[in-house]
Amino acid sequence: MIQGRTWVFANPPSITASAAVGGPFEAKGPLADDFDLLHEDLWLGQDSYEKAEKKLLEQASERAIDKAGMRKEDIQFFLAGDLMNQVISSNFAARTLAVPYLGLFGACSSSMESLALGSLLVDSGYAERVLVGTASHNAAAEKQFRYPTEYGSQKPPTAQWTVTGAGAAVLTNREEGIRVTSATVGRVVDMGIQDPFNMGAAMAPAAVDTIEAHFRDLKNPEYDLILTGDLGKIGHTTAADLLEKHGLKLPNDRFGDCGLMIYREDQPVQAGASGCACSACVTYGHVLNRMRKGELKKVLIVATGALLSPLSYQQNESIPCIAHAVALEGGVSS
């Protein structure tokens, strides 16, 4: 069923299992206990950061499939995305999984883009068991989008830190556990921000646009928690203020940002975390764990993505952004 630009699932798919894998920097963060696997080595024993990123996605996928009590042959479709050129990490992880696969790119919004589309497949009956996942790697992202990792450039206080990690979830048509109830597809919003060291400011309007659409379409639904993907300090404050300005005041204790949760205050990440894995790890690890414990019942995740490339930035293009929202609801029995 569609309301405005929100899919309201008639047969809400179940997130049967989920997994989050992280790197050494994430292991020092406050959500370390919510990861299924944490690596001490940024390379994961691979000989390149790109291969390490692929490995992260493979491991998150394996864990999620394992926790769902399935084998990889049971997965009917795999939907994944990442930040690398030509989404290589997802493509190569899909090569390992060897199941029907759709590669997605929505930058950091890929996490919820894949969850929304996977849910649509299950809801519509075109699939019964779908695996969705995203990955990002700090050094691989730095290498592609910014400078060599060992290069001594000073980051401004608006910069964000790409999460090294991956999150994956198995969606099924079972009527149990945590369900995906609706999803709002975002529009590309470009407010003319050109500074790639200020993604939060660039992405905030996209998040606001999607949140407002979601609330309009579903006539002011109630949530225990609304989390944006990776707006960071500046983006989060801006989004909250913009929403308030537009007449949608979200209470502080119920409106947060995954990018402000994954690292401690004293970790040197400037404005906060970013990357596909940011919202994926926080959602598929921390948030779902809390929902399973019954601490949260209704949660809205709004993953934000900055759709720039190093080329578009060098050619002085501004940064177009997008945000996709997915609503989750915990079952009474868990």
Binding site: E150, M191, I193, Q194
Partner: protein
């Protein structure tokens, strides 16, 4: 900061940028200058000490001690880049580590390390000067322009 090269913005975009500008922390310019001064100055002081060392204990004079001093500083910068220390120091020091010759060495070494995974020819060789290349290109060009000007002016003034 977000709109250094301000293109034509629509009123809505302009309004938003003003809105967000108020919420952006600015670079701590004064603090950055002090740190750059301290670290940059320290690197130069170390260079001076190395230079003195070469003059004192080895067969160099003030003119010739420059080359081995630069070579030593470059070696140290490359070593610290390889050990993964230089970038952390740079986050604190900013221009202090970027401006001296050590920053130049760091830009080359870091790019070489970064692209090792693509092999020696296409990776290391092809990308080593990714950041330093434009410094060399414009440095050489600027030197050429200045040298030409010098020749013209000196000739024009009748070989004074």
């Amino acid at each position: 900061m977000s709109n250094k090269q301000k293109k034509k913005l629509s009123p809505v975009q302009q309004e938003y940028q003003d809105f967000v500008n108020k919420r952006e922390p600015q670079r701590p310019l004064f603090q950055n200058c002090i740190r750059a001064f301290l670290v940059g100055g320290t690197i130069c002081l170390i260079g001076q000490l190395i230079s003195q060392f070469y003059m004192q204990f080895l067969d160099f004079n003030e003119q010739t001690a420059g080359d081995p001093t630069v070579a030593t500083l470059v070696f140290l910068a490359v070593l610290f880049t390889g050990l993964g220390v230089y970038d952390h120091l740079a986050q604190w020091a900013g221009a202090g580590t970027a401006i001296p010759v050590t920053g130049f060495a760091n830009s080359i070494a870091s790019a070489a390390i970064e692209h090792r995974s693509e092999g020696f020819v296409l990776g290391v060789g092809g990308n080593m000067f990714k950041l330093a290349g434009s410094v060399i290109v414009f440095g050489v060009f600027a030197a050429f322009v200045i040298a030409t000007l010098k020749v013209i002016l000196l000739q024009g003034l009748g070989g004074v």
